[in-house]
């Protein structure tokens, strides 16, 4: 009876664990050259198992090929461990096809592998976490972790002043005349006839320049609670000690004022922010502006689509002069919704989550913890 109960508990536990793990199906192909003269399929031989292992590794490679560069670099660090324990990361598979080429003694197998992406995420987090070995050349992690604060402001176009092109025209007119006079005297020398052939040439040269003055853009700037929550969630999950910008003593209004007319913060705002952070021993500051585009119709669904373009920078304040340790330059993220407001909110949430994740990947790659 105890055995049955134990078995049932094991099944329940297994089901729970399976339910929590996120699996992604990816196909993979494995090929081995067999040594024996006779190769029989379906015997569960070492060679068949080796081909399956190769196929699992191939599926993993195909899955990680979609990672962005920073994430891929992080994965590279844990790749040897993942490959060594491939059966844990790819716990399940369906064999799609297998072929034996007797002439070249090759056994090929195609599988559809179920990759445990949660486990890969955990491995990446662990490798770049507080106890992880620091990459060569990277700054070592400090005991107790480092504080980080962030200011993510969203802005949308409020006004746009276009200037007419100013055209300056210069015109030079030149004229010249050329001619020949012919005198004709009669044979009796009593009369003479004079005729003049004239050619007049008018030359006109026009030129000048057109001066186009850059448009003046005015933005409506706001901080969005959902964006702050999304960024906070990503940074906290990545084990960063996040400090609210208000608690960090940052004047968020001055950031908003700077972003209302330009794409960068003023030296005064920056100096004040750095000073405040250093005083409070906050070692990292992330500043991002999120440009909300105009709504448009998505042709595929008929829904409203809004693009949000993110420009972000994380500065390390520990050195004498702050240095940029992660950045995103004008990356667009799209959001769909039944109306412009929903689409805008979805786009902001998507942009906040994904840009924060990308910054975290870049920080981890550099060993910033």
């Amino acid at each position: 009876m105890h055995t049955i109960i134990r078995s049932l508990l094991f099944v329940v536990l297994a089901c729970t664990l399976t339910a929590q793990a996120e699996m992604v199906k990816v196909k993979g192909k494995g090929e081995i050259v067999y040594k024996s003269n006779i190769f029989k399929q379906g015997q569960g031989s070492d060679e068949e198992r080796a081909a399956i292992t190769e196929a699992k590794k191939n599926a993993l490679t195909r899955y990680t090929a979609d990672f962005d560069s920073a994430r891929f670099e992080l994965f590279k660090k844990i790749e040897p461990d993942v490959l060594a324990n491939i059966d844990q990361y790819v716990p399940d598979y369906t064999q799609i096809d297998s072929q034996v080429d007797k002439s070249s003694k090759r056994y090929t197998v195609v599988i559809e592998a179920s990759i445990n992406t949660t486990m890969i995420e955990n491995a990446i987090n662990k490798s770049s976490g507080a106890n992880a070995p620091v990459a060569a050349g990277a700054a070592p992690a400090k005991a107790g972790g480092n504080y980080m604060t962030f200011v993510f402001v969203a802005r949308e176009l409020a006004s746009r002043k276009d200037y007419d092109a100013k055209r300056t025209t210069v015109e030079i007119n030149e004229s010249s005349q050329a001619g020949a006079q012919k005198n004709k005297i009669a044979e009796d020398a009593q009369s003479a006839e004079t005729s003049v052939d004239k050619t007049s040439v008018v030359k006109q040269t026009t030129g000048g320049n057109t001066e186009t003055k850059a448009e003046e853009l005015g933005y409506r700037v706001m901080t969005v609670t959902e964006v702050d929550n999304a960024v906070n969630s990503v940074l906290t999950k990545a084990n960063y000690e996040v400090v609210d910008p208000v608690d960090a003593g940052l004047n968020v209004d001055s950031f908003k004022a700077d972003f209302s007319s330009g794409s960068d913060i003023s030296p005064a705002t920056r100096t004040a922010a750095i000073k405040n952070c250093k005083d409070k021993e906050i070692m990292y500051i992330a500043i991002a502006n999120m440009d909300v585009g105009l709504s448009e119709k998505d042709e595929a669904t008929g829904l409203t689509r809004v693009y949000v373009t993110v420009t972000a920078k994380v500065s390390d304040l520990a050195p004498k002069f702050p240095k940029t340790v992660a950045s995103i330059a004008g990356k667009p993220y799209a959001g769909l919704g039944s109306n412009a407001q929903v689409a805008r909110q979805n786009a902001l949430n998507e942009a906040a989550t994904r840009s924060a994740s990308e910054l975290v990947d870049q920080l981890r790659m550099k060993g910033v913890k």
Partner: protein, 384 residues
């Protein structure tokens, strides 16, 4: 003495296998209860039109015109679909079909009935007017959490009618209404025929998708003018028809056919006007259908009549799309005979070649099932 008797009884009861029987009953009832509880909760999501919200009236002009609000405010097609599923809830034996508003923690699986194709072909012959209505539906199980199509069961229904006068839009509307929700609803009969197979596919189950349909030059002369002008629209019908037969005959888990082949998104406009876009996941296996053409041959002729053989020629390819591993690649042909009286001046050939095509589809599915490689390596893995 009494105690001794009890002991003796217990020993003999144990010896006679009573405990074993009880254990067996207990295990069976536990397993039955477990099987019942393993059936997944699926919420009914309603009726939807497939495609962009702005294109509903263009793509489904008659069906969308029927979808007017009823007395309780629910659009007509949404209401009849809901009434049907509620009434026949128990026929869907592979899932716990639920109604009402799903809470976030309940389930992310939703069953929706989507109209994917509406074709109305009106033709005028010398002495009569002909009407062909073709409707394609998908019974979709959708995962709202991942915004993904889990699996689908294609349903294809057709009505051919003839009359002395041309068919007005309202006459066509009445017929479509009958096909969907009338007393002898073709749609609901087809759904009930497949009800016990409609279920969420398990995690490890492979999927099959009709990926590409090509219509050959030699097929075009036999098609009505409207389809001849838009072979892609005919390709959609072919995919729907073949998918419907394949799922019925082989009982496989299918993914919806994407019109442009590479499109992996499916937008659904639900009756309440909400639009949701779902991702069609990559299928494990793909099927390409090549309708090479139709042909007619005079078999026998007398003064009174002529016997014509109409043939449909197909190419069917089943393969794994990522590594291009082929499993089945064979030409299939099927012929139907038609006796035409010599007094009949005009012959409507489309229904005849459609019948030949259906025969070719069934032959192809039969061949696929007979082929050991396809059966073992593809169909068995996709069987629901």
């Amino acid at each position: 003495m009494g105690i001794c008797k009890v002991h003796c009884f217990r020993r003999s009861w144990l010896a006679s296998g009573g405990l074993a029987r009880w254990c067996a009953i207990l295990i069976i009832s536990t397993l039955t209860a477990a099987a019942e509880s393993t059936k997944q909760d699926v919420f009914f999501g309603g009726f939807a039109f497939c495609g962009k919200a702005g294109d509903v009236e263009k793509n489904f002009p008659i069906a969308s015109s029927l979808n007017k609000p009823t007395d309780d405010g629910t659009p007509y097609l949404g209401k009849v679909a809901r009434d049907f599923f509620q009434k026949n809830k128990d026929r869907f034996t592979q899932m716990n079909l639920q109604f009402g508003v799903a809470r976030r923690e309940d389930t992310s699986l939703v069953l929706a009935l989507a109209l994917t194709d509406e074709k109305v072909l009106r033709e005028e012959f010398s002495i009569f007017h002909k009407l062909v209505i073709q409707l394609g539906f998908e019974m979709l199980i959708l995962n709202f959490k991942d915004q993904e199509v889990v699996c689908s069961q294609p349903i294809y229904i057709e009505l051919i009618d003839a009359g002395d006068e041309s068919f007005s839009d309202s006459a066509v509307g009445d017929r479509i209404k009958n096909m969907i929700s009338g007393g002898d609803s073709q749609l609901f009969a087809s759904i009930l025929a497949k009800a016990d197979r409609i279920q969420p596919r398990s995690k490890n189950q492979s999927t099959l998708q009709i990926r590409q349909v090509t219509i050959g030059e030699k097929a075009l002369p036999f098609l009505p003018e409207k389809l001849r002008q838009t072979p892609n629209a005919y390709a959609q019908t072919v995919a729907q028809q073949f998918g419907s037969l394949l799922s019925s005959r082989a009982g496989v888990a299918l993914l919806p056919f994407a019109k442009d082949g590479l499109n992996t998104k499916m937008a659904l406009v639900f009756s309440d006007a909400s639009t949701v876009q779902f991702k069609i996941p990559a299928a494990t296996f793909a099927v390409d259908v090549d309708v090479k053409g139709f042909k007619k041959v005079l078999n026998k002729s007398t003064d009174a009549e002529a016997l014509w053989i109409y043939g449909a020629f197909l190419g069917i390819r089943v393969y794994e799309p990522d590594f291009n591993v082929g499993f089945f690649d064979a030409p299939v042909k099927y012929g139907v005979s038609k006796v035409i009286p010599s007094t009949q001046k005009t012959v409507d050939e489309f229904p005849i070649v459609s019948e030949a095509l259906k025969g070719a589809f069934l032959s192809a599915i039969d061949e696929m099932q007979k082929d050991k490689k396809t059966s073992e390596k593809v169909l068995k893995k996709c069987t629901l």
